[in-house]
Amino acid sequence: MEEIEKTLTKEQALIEAERCLYCYDAPCEKACPAHVPIPEFIQSIRSGDLRGGREIIEEAHPLIESCGRICPEESFCQSACTRAQIDSPIKIRELHRYITDHTDPAENLELPPANKGKIAIIGGGPAGLACARELRRMGYEPVVFEKKQLGGVPAQEISPTRFPREIEQKEVKFLHQYFITDVKDGKVKSLSDIKGDYKAIFIATGLINELDLDIPGVSLSGVHHAREILRRVKAGNNSGLGKRIGVIGGGNVAVEVASVLMLEDPKRDVEVIYRRGLKELKAFKKEIEEAIDVGVTFQFLAIPKEIKGENGKVSGIVVTRAHLGEPDESGRRHPEPIPNSNFFIPLSDVVIAIGQKASDFFPEVEKDRKGLIKVNDDMMTSVKGVFAGGDIVRGASTVVESVADGKKAAKAIVKFLEGGE
């Protein structure tokens, strides 16, 4: 599967860079959770020093290949762009990608000796990698515990049409080579599983488990979990699914898996079945547009009731038609079932993409009612010296927010160990 979005041409990049006003106290930079100095790297495009541009971004953001591709810019930097008040915001993410696509990771690194002690980082996703890199830059020896592969969700689950494997590997390999002292693949379920002399611990496991649909028929053969399918496809394997697929959910994962399955076999029917309407979809606008482009269809206002099967295998789904009522606690209008409106959709497979949940790992630290780890302003958990960040603290979020957590945690860890600010 080929990447859908094309990198900007030199002419497009220069015209776009020229549009940037180079704001003082730039609002885009403030709106970026990782605080990438955006006007500075755009200036380097204007001047023709793309390597300088990469150095500027890398300083602030360890996962710069992913963010140039998958960052939901409309939620962050671009939402704050001053230029929007004149015409339209600068295509910041695409300029970022223009730099990363035309440069290699900067290997002219100048790092202090790694002699300040080992820090255990549980989870090799964006938060863990960002924390590891910051710690290494400050003279510590980060040891990452990861039972799958480094890179986390972007590496393992994001569609190769949006984030190709080789690009993701280039990024992770570079981080591994220069910033991580050791990678251990031991499975860590509690603090007591972490054996060794570590000065502090950073938990960044992300959300491992997927939520299950609470309706009859979920154990039939042909019912799948979305992230499992994404991991399979990203690893280069066939999804193994049939010709008429229903994807249940309305978030990014639902829309993403639908697109991937459609691209895998354009002769298929892939329908996203969602209990609310188009306006309530939680997926990013760009992903929805891409899904529609590749031929994904949407069944809105449809509440799943029962997955039907024949001989233990999925044959379809019964849904109830809904209408939207008053807004619920999420701020979106609540779907209310319309009586006697059940209907049947014939399907070969059902993919469940209704969200993910925290694991019951790390019972030692305090958690909220959703099982997310509680931290203070310094990202420290209820256990002294144990820090946490990323999705396991925030719930499902973005790469750049996890990176911001990892950076913040690293500073907090150093402050905890060395005192001062």
Binding site: I15, E18, Y22, C23, Y24, R46, Q85, I86
Partner: protein, 411 residues
């Protein structure tokens, strides 16, 4: 479909249907191209400079290069062109052909010679061929064929006067324009020499000697002629302010008709040239870039401007700005402060950056509201903030004895 305003003027006794003519340059170096220009609606052509036999023209290609930011490559256009490679016999034929095809357009010729005989022969032959006007290039920056090789004729006051006299002797009642260079110590002295020599007018001014650029990897200059390069004559929007000053300086000090040339890229530029004393305006880089079709906007824009301003003729503009141009020491001394229009401000902070690092620390910045604020105690009114504002939200408020005046730049 639309009633058109009469833009015609009398230029040195020649009828021009608008003030816009094609200058002596590539657009007038082929009969067919010059013909197309006149057909498209330009008021006249000055055929590319011709010389006499015995002065072979060795053009080198490529000859054009340019500079400017990516989306606007040609802010300045450079050329290492020389005079026309066509023989005077051919240029004579063209004058005749064009005059026949376009009896109501100005068909002018441009000449360059070395000796008195050459100059006068050229004038005599072109006059006989029916040229409405003779323009003399005293200023081709790319190697002169004047009497001192390497130096432009118009850089010598004495030579300018002497050669002008030769030309005018031969031209008789045919109007003569002397095309000068802005690259001189005192443009007024040169203009006075032209006047003393008896020319009817001055073309102000030719391209500006320049070096367009250097390839920073090979260290070869632009334009790159097989690894080598020469200085170019610079034209286009980049030189407009230089030309404006040249025209104004001549107009303020010498009583002579001026044909404006060098950097006008639209009708607004042309109006400015005329406002400082030009009676018509020559174009070259604009049609070379976008084609002869650009004449429509030039004429329409000028017509609508004249109507809006209540002027009857383009000639009403000529010299209008001159009384307002004074030496710096003669200017009034108002108390000036920057005034920011909060409704227009988009909060980019560029005025703050400019005032902080290149002004007087007179603009304060509210980081939360993203709004600048002028501290009038510190503001001296330099207007740097106004230059960097991308939405023209800043103007300068000038005050003398309770009387108010504003500096705004119309774009």
């Amino acid at each position: 479909m639309y009633k058109k305003k009469d833009l015609s003027i009398d230029f040195l006794g020649i009828h021009l249907d608008s003030p816009f003519v094609l200058s002596a340059a590539p657009p007038t170096d082929e009969l067919e191209i010059a013909y197309n220009g006149l057909k498209a609606g330009w008021a006249g052509v000055i055929l590319k400079t011709t010389s006499v036999e015995g002065n072979p023209v060795e053009l080198k290609y490529p000859m054009m290069s340019s500079f400017g930011p990516m989306h606007k490559k040609v802010v300045g256009l450079g050329n290492i062109d020389l005079i026309s490679a066509y023989h005077i016999d051919e240029v004579e034929r063209r004058v005749k052909a064009l005059k026949k095809a376009f009896p109501n357009k100005m068909i002018a010729a441009s000449i360059m010679g070395a000796t008195k005989e050459q100059w006068q022969t050229l004038v005599w032959r072109l006059k006989k061929a029916g040229a409405d006007l003779i323009e003399c290039s005293f200023s081709c920056p790319q190697g002169s064929m004047g009497e001192e090789p390497g130096k432009m004729l118009a850089q010598s006051v004495e030579a300018t006067e002497k050669v002008t006299r030769w030309v005018k002797e031969a031209a008789g009642d045919t109007p003569v324009l002397i095309k000068i260079t802005p690259q001189v110590t005192d443009i007024v002295e040169v203009a006075k020499a032209v006047k003393r020599g008896g020319a009817d007018g001055i073309t102000a001014s030719n391209t500006v000697p320049s070096l367009l650029g250097i390839d920073i990897k090979t260290f070869e200059p632009y334009p790159n002629v097989f690894g080598k390069g020469a200085y170019s004559g610079l034209s286009g929007p980049a030189i407009k302010p230089l030309t404006l000053r040249t025209i104004a300086e001549i107009a303020k000090n010498v009583d002579i008709v001026i044909s404006g040339n060098g950097g006008a890229f639209n009708w607004r530029d042309a109006v400015e040239f005329m406002a400082v004393g030009a009676s018509n305006v020559q174009f070259c880089t604009l049609p070379m870039h976008y084609g002869f079709r650009t004449i429509r906007d030039l004429k329409d824009g000028l017509a609508h401007y004249l109507m809006d301003m209540g002027f009857n003729s383009p000639m009403d503009i000529v010299g209008k700005a001159l009384p307002n141009i004074e030496p710096q020491e003669e200017l009034p001394a108002p108390i000036t402060k920057a005034e920011i229009n909060e409704d227009k401000c988009i909060g980019c902070g560029l005025c703050y950056a400019a005032c902080s690092d290149g002004g007087h620390l007179a603009i304060e910045w509210d980081s939360n509201k993203r709004r600048p604020h002028v501290n009038e105690d510190k503001c001296v009114g330099c207007a740097m903030c106004m230059q960097v504002c991308p939405v023209d939200a800043i103007r300068m408020k000038e005050k003398i004895d309770g009387q108010l005046h504003y500096f705004v730049e119309e774009r």
